[in-house]
């Protein structure tokens, strides 16, 4: 990292200073670094290297925790030295926050593409041109797979299951190109560790590795494994809608839209063929499907027809067309003021229901990033609990349910840094809430039918509305 600092300034030095140019010449060699125009010999070496190691999409993968330790590495071709991650650490240091580390970092010989999830950086090393989203989307799929396999995706869990992780990664990618990324297929190739299986394996000496090619890989339905059997056949669908909104100071809506998903948990025996139809499919403006959904059928009849994968999956995500006015189910009354003269500020917010279609609003939490000048806050809530972190300046108030008769409020004072001028911006309030049994867009599932199997499944549909990115500017 220290070396890196110097590196950035190399080209600044003028040509006349012999002492400096000597240093400069050495640097590219010791670090394999930039400045190709200076070092001709270096250029040719690079070219020959290129013709030899023709690319593969993803060369290597490094898992880096938040404290900057590489705790897992996997190479799909020749080993790439760990030191390539130094460039990443450099960028990480520059970014101060993990959120701001650029997803694509160029280094002289490689490109580092990373995703940050569960406090782990998944850094893929690639060597040549590749669509960056290809790599990023794949890395996300890797994380999803780990989550699916181990329940949580965290450093200790990955370390504990390093063999399974390795086996899974081996199957997911061949020569840097994705091979099997469908969770259903992977689980047939490598069985996820369960306590029972671990015990059984120890006793019988059997393994986690499947010895047969998953039939799905070859059949028409590559996302579903064959031979699924359940005693209770169930299919549950959750219609979850999120409201993304920005509400301005005066309470009027600047922008609001509804994004929805239908998450399914299908545990059905055999090869069921399901159709799901809506009462008002026209609401759906833009949709994206799980690969199992038959696109043509949707185009012509607006019916979702599909052979579901086994287990949990996201059937559909949709966007409700912008023409429909979005009903905003809550309002926030706020009075936050700083006075120039005093070192105290007033803080008061009230949350109330609005257009809820008679449903109660639950799980309300209010968070707000207070300005740096705020030292502490002394507040009293009418219900729920609140915390203020004087270091991060994050105020959060766990409200719970909103009772329309007695609106929850949070009142009190803020103490400001003495002598500091008043902050010129009032904090933005972020809101979270849930409304059960309501899809705010009015979307309704008409019916769910099953073909292809003889039994009668248990079907269930649940609606829920949540706050997505719901912000109130004050």
């Amino acid at each position: 990292m220290l070396r890196g600092d110097a590196r950035g300034r190399v080209p600044d030095w003028g040509g006349g200073h012999s002492g400096r140019s000597g240093r400069r010449r050495r640097r590219p060699c010791c670090r394999g670094d930039a400045g190709l125009s200076i070092c001709r010999g270096f250029q040719t070496e690079k070219d020959s290297l290129r013709s030899l190691t023709v690319s593969t999409m993803i060369h290597s993968l490094f898992l880096i925790n938040s404290s900057g330790d590489i705790f897992l590495e996997k190479h799909w071709k020749s080993v790439v030295s760990r030191s390539v991650c130094d460039y990443f650490f450099e960028a990480q240091e520059r970014a101060t926050e993990a959120e701001n580390v650029p997803p694509v970092i160029p280094t002289p010989h490689h490109y580092l593409l990373s995703v940050y999830r569960h406090k782990i950086f998944f850094v893929a090393v690639i060597q040549t041109e590749v669509p960056p989203l290809f790599v990023i989307e794949f890395l996300h799929r890797v994380v999803d797979t780990f989550q699916d396999y181990f329940g949580v995706c965290s450093e200790p869990v990955i370390k504990d299951n390093v063999v399974v992780v390795y086996e899974v990664l081996e199957e997911m990618l061949d020569n840097g190109f994705p091979l099997a990324t469908e969770s259903n297929i992977l689980k047939e190739l490598i069985k996820p560790p369960t306590i029972l299986r671990t015990v059984v394996n120890t006793i019988t000496g059997s393994t986690n590795v499947g010895d047969q090619l998953p039939t799905g890989q070859l059949s028409v339905v590559p996302w579903r494994r064959t031979g699924v059997k359940y005693t209770n056949n169930e299919a549950y669908f959750d219609v979850i809608e999120e409201i993304d909104a920005i509400i301005d100071k005066s309470g009027s809506t600047i922008t609001a839209e509804i994004q929805g998903v239908i998450d399914a948990c299908v545990k059905l025996t055999g090869m069921p063929d399901l159709t799901l139809s809506f009462m008002n499919p026209r609401l759906l403006d833009d949709v994206s499907f799980h690969p199992c959904v038959r696109f043509k059928r949707w185009e012509s009849e607006r019916i979702l027809s599909f052979i579901p994968p086994d287990g949990n999956f996201r059937l559909l995500s949709y966007h409700v067309s912008a023409q429909n006015l979005v009903a905003i189910p809550v309002y926030v009354k706020h009075n936050i003021s700083f006075r120039d003269s005093s070192s105290l500020g007033r803080f008061e917010i009230t949350v109330g229901p609005k257009q809820t279609m008679g449903k109660t609003i639950e799980g309300v939490t209010v968070t707000s990033q207070m300005p740096r000048g705020v030292l502490n806050m002394s507040l009293t809530p009418s219900q729920g609990t609140h915390t203020f972190d004087p270091v991060t300046k994050m105020l959060s108030w766990d409200v719970g349910k909103i009772n329309p008769q007695k609106l929850p409020s949070l009142k009190g004072t803020m103490s400001l840094q003495a002598g500091a001028s008043k902050p010129d911006e009032n904090p933005t309030i972020n809101l979270q809430f849930k409304i059960q049994q309501l899809a705010i867009s009015g979307l309704k599932v008409n019916r769910l039918d099953m073909y292809g199997e003889k039994y009668k499944p248990f079907k269930g549909i649940k609606y829920m509305t949540k706050a997505g990115k719901f912000q109130v500017r004050t």
Partner: protein, 1043 residues
């Protein structure tokens, strides 16, 4: 380190308690560096022992720990000899872990790695396709140059494997071998060429990937596979889709002419897109405008559209860039909605997508204007996302929305994220320059910001105001005065420098303030930043030239300070200025022009988007993201002025067949003839009479059939109900339907018989087509094209008479299902014919060539009895033709009879009750059936290799009847043509899996080969393998599901 070993222990899960016990004590107890080192050594010894033990569990434990070491990046190479011994382990998990180890270390231990090769070679012949595939994977991953020939051989064999999974792995292995030894390129290209013809969706993505890496410039290999790839695209797995779309984008840019013409946008309004393609075609024809899109170009654009709905962001982005780069500008609009949708996903995806939108929004504002609000910034966004959104908002700003945007910007300016606030100020500056109506408002707003409490905001405002003032050489004395006052409070160097520069430039406009400012800064000169010092020097020089009376001394004082400054840049500048402005005997003529030099009119800086120059990179690529050319970036070529010959995408199977048939017949048909004549004698001797006629008829019939099966293969992903412009079928053919109604089963038999007789031909067609390819490779392309065209003409002539008589009867089985397509206009017909020909490829070029049935039994089954059907009777039988609706379907022909004395109207298939996985392609509803009339229709049913019953309802206008079709096992098969040798090979691979053997006792008179054949083909749709021995008969079949 000790914690590491602890982790291993935990992870190995108490498999071998005793060993673990030792392990734990030995590793945890020692402390200090030396202790750790020794324990490490000891542990490796342990591992060796465990690997050499004869218990699988111990080996497995050892391997798991070794993999743990590899994952941690520790060196485990010294265990190589011990590990490599286990490569042949029976335990599949040990084997897998050994593979992992081998791939990691083989490069370092090449000699020892060779020990494992024979194991893989053996595994390559394993009956289990999973084992074959993984052996190939590991073998090709061992980067040891010595085994290149072995790898080559393995890849060659695997590329012809029956299992598409193995072929997929072969495609991956090509890239690995190429990177190991680029010398092999030519041979590898041959394999790629072969695999490109593969019909399996599993293979398509991988082979295109190999193509992109090995020979991206061999665009000629794509021509013949272009249509197939377009049609398969929807069914390819998502990662393959991305690669194929990117490749096809490049392809399209070299093969088609630009759809972006002047006036194109005006003519093609948005609505056009939503019209069906057919309509559009018609319109295009009516207009007779000079540009008509190549149907292949249209095919690509149409077939990628559904993928915008993919859940995979990479696929959506790939389609978006395809539309951006090759679709007519009027149609590119549909991608914006999908791209905006992607903004809901993770930070990283947002980052890339926003970058691409930023580039697009510069060129075509209109595309994203409706989604303006989607780019509003939230306080929770990461800074890089915020800045990208801001960039897009700026690009989208226009007179109509600027007031809304400016209000939004006001909020942003106050943001706690100061980097973002600063970016917003720059944005306001850009808006002010691009939209002149608001420039004054913006300037005033920025001036207000000068009194902001935050220094970064003020500094940025100063910089932006400076740029704005420079662009508008008007009187802004007030603002300058205001800024001069700010100099006392602002500490940010850039801002101070900017103010000083501004005052210097306008020193004649603020004659009172300027010298005062110089006086103040002279005092603080030594403590200023270098940037500010330079500007102080500049200001001094300018004032010296304009107002030397007041400032002469001050300037000299500053120059003196500068002379002894630590920074050599400042010393340089001081020396330069002194020489230039202070006249002395040494200074030459230049000092006369000093004023002109210093106070020249400076060009205003251009405030433009940092994304302005990115559009020369292909969107969605790494190079675009980085804004530099990444290694291996393939330039997107410009549209050609004149389109290269579109006929290269046609596959001239028919014409070439003509030319080659004599040879083919002589070689192949003789044994067949004999065989047929025998069986014919047995069954029906009258048939030979129509030999010559049916010969030619069957030929064309077969051609059509091939077309259709090609169609169906390509259609398999679609429901097939949509009219496809590219696949025009002459309406005359579908009209012939009516005549064919009266046709009885005998005739049916005859037709299929005759088509059988040309089975030898079909193989010769294949041969010739492959020949022609090699030909075109060696010869110059243009020449072969010429030949093609001539042939095309010939066949067209020959075709016409044929379609009139015999072939009509042959064809009509397929016609009812053919989608209603208007008679193609004459202008288009050549390309349509070309299309039909192009479609042939997929049927003939597959690795396994399906042959025509040897025999079609005429047995019909009752579907619906006339008594129970209220006068509607239905019979079905299996024509043993490759089904046109999908290659997994069995075609079923249903003959419907009206036995009532009234018309039966609207006969159609109602509700289907199919077992899981089973699929059915129904016939098109029949409007009416005259009394005593009959009609034959075709259906396709995918029985999923089972003999389960397909139940569905046959409905008329008034009634519904439940009916069932249950297939005999023999009808689920499909005959393939292969040599005896191949057959034996494939049989070897399948052994054990699908084997049943029984002994059949037969009477001696039944022991003639013809009798046995007759019996067998009667019950099962199989083909005959030419056999060298008399008493062994081989029949092949292709299970529908297995492939």
């Amino acid at each position: 380190m000790s914690s590491n070993s602890f982790a291993y222990n935990e992870q190995s899960g108490g498999g071998e308690a005793t060993e673990l016990g030792q392990e734990a004590t030995s590793t945890i107890s020692p402390s200090g560096a030396f202790g750790l080192f020794s324990s490490d050594m000891k542990k490796n010894e342990d591992l060796k022992q465990m690997l050499e033990s004869n218990k699988d569990s111990a080996k497995l434990d050892a391997m798991k720990r070794i993999v743990g070491m590899i994952a941690k990046g520790k060196n485990a190479s010294e265990l190589f000899p011990a590990v490599v011994k286990n490569v042949a382990s029976k335990n599949i998990e040990i084997k897998k872990l050994v593979y992992v180890y081998l791939v990691r270390y083989a490069e370092e231990q090449q000699d020892l790695a060779l020990l494992s090769i024979s194991t893989f070679q053996r595994a390559l012949k394993d009956p289990n396709q999973l084992i074959r595939a993984s052996a190939l994977r590991v073998l090709s991953s061992i980067r040891v140059p010595i085994i290149v020939p072995i790898m080559m051989l393995a890849i060659k064999e695997a590329s012809a494997d029956l299992s598409p999974y193995v072929r997929k792995n072969a495609a991956h292995a090509i890239q690995k071998l190429y990177s190991l030894d680029p010398e092999q390129k030519e041979m590898l290209i041959e394999i790629i060429e072969k695999l490109l013809k593969d019909k399996s969706t599993l293979v398509a993505g991988s082979v295109v990937m190999a193509f992109e890496e090995v020979c991206p410039d061999r665009i000629d290999l794509i021509h013949k596979n272009y249509r197939k790839l377009c049609n398969l695209l929807v069914d390819v797995e998502e990662w393959g889709q991305v690669v194929i779309i990117h490749m096809l984008t490049r392809y399209a840019r070299t093969q088609f002419v630009s759809p972006w013409r002047q006036g194109d946008v005006l003519e093609d309004n948005e609505k056009d897109f939503y019209d069906s393609d057919e309509e559009q075609k018609e319109k295009a024809d009516k207009r007779k405008r000079p540009y008509a899109m190549d149907p292949d170009h249209r095919l690509l654009i149409r077939n990628t559209k559904p993928l915008l709905q993919s859940r995979n962001a990479a696929v959506v982005m790939a389609v978006a860039q395809l539309y951006w780069h090759i679709a007519p500008k009027s149609e590119a609009g549909i991608i914006s909605k999908s791209l905006v949708r992607l903004l809901r996903s993770s930070r990283e995806v947002q980052y890339i997508v926003l970058q691409n939108i930023a580039t697009m929004s510069i060129q075509r504002k209109g595309m994203f204007e409706p989604y303006l609000k989607s780019f509003y910034v939230r306080s929770t966004d990461a800074t890089m996302i915020k800045i990208l959104k801001l960039e897009i908002l700026t690009n989208l700003a226009n007179e109509a929305n600027i007031s809304t945007l400016l209000r939004e910007f006001q909020t942003y300016v106050k943001s706690q994220d100061k980097q973002f606030a600063a970016a917003t100020i720059q944005t306001i500056g850009r808006c002010a320059t691009s939209i002149t109506e608001v420039s004054d408002t913006c300037l005033n707003g920025l001036v207000c910001l000068l009194s902001n409490r935050d220094e970064i905001v003020v500094a940025e405002s100063v910089v932006v105001i400076k740029k704005l003032l420079q662009m508008q050489p008007m009187q802004h004395g007030e603002i300058i005065k205001h800024m001069a006052k700010l100099l006392d409070s602002i500490t940010v160097p850039v801002a101070r420098a900017s103010i000083l520069w501004l005052i210097g430039e306008n020193c004649e406009r603020v004659p009172k303030i300027a010298p005062d400012v110089l006086r103040k800064t002279a005092k603080s000169f030594t403590s200023e930043d270098d940037l500010v010092k330079l500007q102080i020097l500049n200001l001094g020089a300018k004032l010296y030239l304009t107002n030397s009376k007041q400032t002469k001394l001050l300037t000299q004082y500053i120059l003196n300070l500068g002379k002894y400054d630590q920074n050599y840049d400042i010393r340089d500048r001081t020396r330069f200025i002194r020489q230039l402005i202070v006249p002395n005997e040494k200074s030459g003529a230049l000092s006369k022009y000093a004023k002109k030099i210093f106070l020249a009119q400076k060009p205003a800086p251009l405030l433009e988007s940092p994304f302005k120059d990115r559009d020369h990179f292909q969107l969605g690529t790494l190079s675009h993201t980085l804004n530099t050319k990444a290694t291996g970036y393939l330039e997107l070529s410009n549209w050609p002025e004149v389109a290269p010959d579109p006929s290269v995408r046609n596959v001239e199977v028919i014409e070439l067949a003509k030319e080659w048939t004599p040879a083919g017949k002589a070689k192949k048909e003789n044994p067949d003839k004999k065989f047929y004549s025998e069986s014919e004698e047995e069954e029906d001797s009258s048939e030979s009479s129509s030999d010559s006629e049916s010969e030619s008829g069957s030929e064309s019939g077969e051609d059509e059939e091939d077309d259709r099966s090609g169609d169906s293969a390509e259609d398999s992903g679609e429901s097939g109900s949509e009219p496809e412009a590219g696949k025009g079928r002459a309406a005359t053919r579908s009209r012939a339907r009516g005549r064919g109604d009266s046709k009885d089963v005998d005739k049916e038999k005859e037709n299929s018989k005759t088509s059988e007789s040309s089975s030898g031909e079909s193989s010769s067609i294949e041969e010739s087509s492959s020949d022609s390819e090699s030909e075109s490779e060696s010869e110059s392309e243009s020449e072969s094209r010429k030949v093609t065209k001539e042939k095309e003409k010939k066949t067209k002539q020959e075709r016409n008479p044929l379609t009139k008589d015999v072939s009509l009867l042959d064809l009509d089985d397929f016609n009812l299902v053919s989608t209603p397509v208007a008679l193609p206009t004459p202008a288009l017909s050549p390309s349509l014919i070309a299309d039909l020909e192009g479609l042939n490829l997929s049927a003939t070029s597959s690795v396994i060539s399906v042959s025509t049935p040897v025999f079609v039994p005429g047995k019909t089954h009752v579907l619906l009895h006339r008594m129970s059907g209220k006068g509607l009777a239905a019979h079905y039988f299996f024509p043993r033709q490759p089904c046109i609706f999908g290659d997994k379907m069995v075609s079923v022909q249903i003959t419907l009879n009206n036995t009532t004395d009234q018309k039966i109207e609207n006969i159609h298939v109602g509700g289907k009750k199919l077992p899981m996985g089973m699929q059915m392609h129904v016939f098109n509803p029949i409007e009416s059936l005259e009394p005593a009339g009959s009609i034959t229709v075709s259906m396709g049913i995918d029985f999923c290799d089972s003999t389960q019953t397909a139940s569905f309802q046959l409905c008329t206008k008034d009634d519904c009847f439940s009916v069932n079709i249950q297939p005999p096992v023999g009808e689920l098969l499909l005959p393939v043509a292969m040599s005896e040798k191949d057959f034996k090979k494939e049989q070897g691979m399948l052994s054990g899996m699908n084997e049943t053997s029984t002994t059949i006792i037969a009477a001696p008179q039944n022991f003639a080969s013809s009798v046995i054949l007759q019996k067998i083909v009667n019950v099962a749709n199989v083909g005959v393998v030419p056999s060298g021995q008399d008493n062994i008969h081989r029949y092949e079949e292709l299970k529908f599901q297995a492939l």
